[in-house]
């Protein structure tokens, strides 16, 4: 299993079966509480993405749980899809692809983008995530960091991919060295998935746009 060279099996198991499971359970608990209250029952049916975009509309007691557990749930759901043993076959976005073009336009080059994301990752203090995000209205790209399990969805940004920077994501194999972890992360990032995510978004924003037909 060549990909286990980069992120170890023990971390994958704990991260998925314990950490992500715990967020799932806590989110389900929060949603059950919302459903049980006639005033908030309709909110519970809106879906977690909507809830994260409108977290201020929730009763105060549930904002923290939804933000933390709901954020943790969606962030990790995206995380597994961003990683791939076959990420090693596409360590860069494909030249000529809309994603490649957009990264070059926004950051100067793909390498400049990686430098910027690495810097944001190293500068984030405490627990959180670093992201490549796109505006939900314009598709414009940005590098962003969020604390704890806060999702870019909360500020109207669409996460294209994120890097989990909580210590549980890297400590067993990489110890304190977030830098070593980032080196390994780039080797398993699933660029084909990220490219599809980007073109899907562009198609949603402007259906007749030049992004081309999105793959499923």
């Amino acid at each position: 299993c060549p990909w286990l060279q980069h992120i170890d099996e023990k971390t994958m198991r704990l991260h998925h079966l314990k950490h992500h499971q715990a967020y799932t359970d806590k989110l389900n608990g929060a949603l059950a509480r919302l459903r049980a209250n006639p005033e908030t029952k309709a909110l519970a049916k809106r879906g977690i993405d909507w809830l994260l975009e409108h977290v201020q509309e929730l009763p105060e007691a549930e904002r923290g749980p939804v933000r933390n557990a709901g954020g943790g749930y969606v962030n990790h759901d995206l995380w597994w899809q961003c990683l791939s043993p076959r990420g090693g076959e596409a360590v860069e976005p494909r030249e000529g692809s809309p994603m490649h073009g957009a990264l070059t336009a926004a950051f100067g080059s793909v390498n400049d983008f990686k430098t910027k994301l690495n810097l944001a990752s190293l500068e984030l203090f405490g627990s959180g995530w670093a992201w490549l995000v796109a505006s939900s209205t314009t598709g414009d790209l940005q590098v962003e960091a969020t604390a704890n399990q806060d999702s870019p969805l909360m500020s109207g940004q669409v996460p294209l991919f994120g890097i989990d920077l909580w210590e549980h994501a890297y400590y067993l194999k990489h110890g304190p060295s977030r830098k070593d972890y980032l080196n390994d992360f780039w080797k398993v990032l699933n660029w084909p998935f990220v490219e599809r995510r980007y073109t899907d978004l562009i198609d949603r924003i402007s259906p007749s746009g030049a992004a081309g037909k999105a793959e499923l």
């Binding site: 405490g126 604390a147 704890n148 110890g175 304190p176």
Partner: protein
């Protein structure tokens, strides 16, 4: 003592300090560096509650990094202040808070812990704080469960604290995010427990509550009492 240096020596010192010859010397006192304190016990002394591996990395890597980065930030701050660069001074405040807080918090933490051979975990050695805890929470057990539950609930990285509130003369349980020192809440720190994942992950994995249960066995209650007496 009492003997004053010869006038000529004083004159030379005054002239040198006003010249450009020794600006480094004049700045030296403001740039005294912070240093990593030694652990008061061996790295394996707190086993099985906290593994030697964790103690080694936590002290010589994490705490050491806070000290190094604090010194670097303070040096840059002193330079910015000398140039009157307010924007740079403000931009550095985050780094000073993170790393200064990290240094302060961990220095307290090592002193808050002790091996069983030095009465770690034995609250009867600290009758003053024991009585104050019992007066406020009914029993030491109840205090510990409340502290553990509150601290386990910290989202992401942070610390759980027992602090002293001078205004009311009472003890309080509080939590802080990241490396924010307890001083930001106005409380005096008596006992802190680090719940950044690096404090327990290698040994306890995701099970923070197990770590919080085990750490009570190595709390240096004498140190907590010393801080309590000093705070009052």
């Amino acid at each position: 003592p009492g003997a004053s240096p010869p006038f000529s020596a004083l004159l030379i010192i005054v002239m040198l300090s006003r010249s450009r010859v020794l600006p480094a010397l004049r700045g030296f006192a403001t740039r005294a560096k912070h240093t990593l304190p030694d652990l008061p016990y061996e790295v394996n002394a707190l086993e099985p509650a906290i593994s030697a591996e964790i103690m080694q990395i936590h002290h010589s890597k994490h705490h050491n990094t806070y000290v190094t980065n604090l010194n670097a930030a303070l040096e840059k701050y002193a330079d910015a202040e000398a140039k009157g660069d307010m924007a740079a001074m403000i931009a550095l405040q985050g780094a000073i808070k993170f790393n200064g807080g990290g240094h302060v918090n961990h220095s307290i933490f090592w002193s808050n812990l002790a091996p069983k051979t030095c009465d770690g975990g034995d609250v009867t050695k600290a009758p003053g704080i024991k009585a104050a805890i019992e007066a406020q929470w009914g029993s030491v057990d109840t205090f510990q469960s409340t502290f553990s539950a509150t601290t386990a609930a910290v989202q992401g990285s942070g610390w759980g604290w027992l602090g002293y509130d001078k205004a009311s003369g009472s003890l309080k349980i509080a939590t802080c995010a990241n490396q924010d020192p307890l001083s930001t809440t106005g409380l005096v720190p008596l006992l802190g427990v680090d719940v950044w994942e690096h404090a327990y992950y290698l040994q306890y994995k995701n099970v923070r509550p197990d770590y919080l249960k085990a750490i009570w066995g190595v709390i240096n209650w004498r140190n907590v009492e010393e801080r309590f007496v000093a705070a009052k």
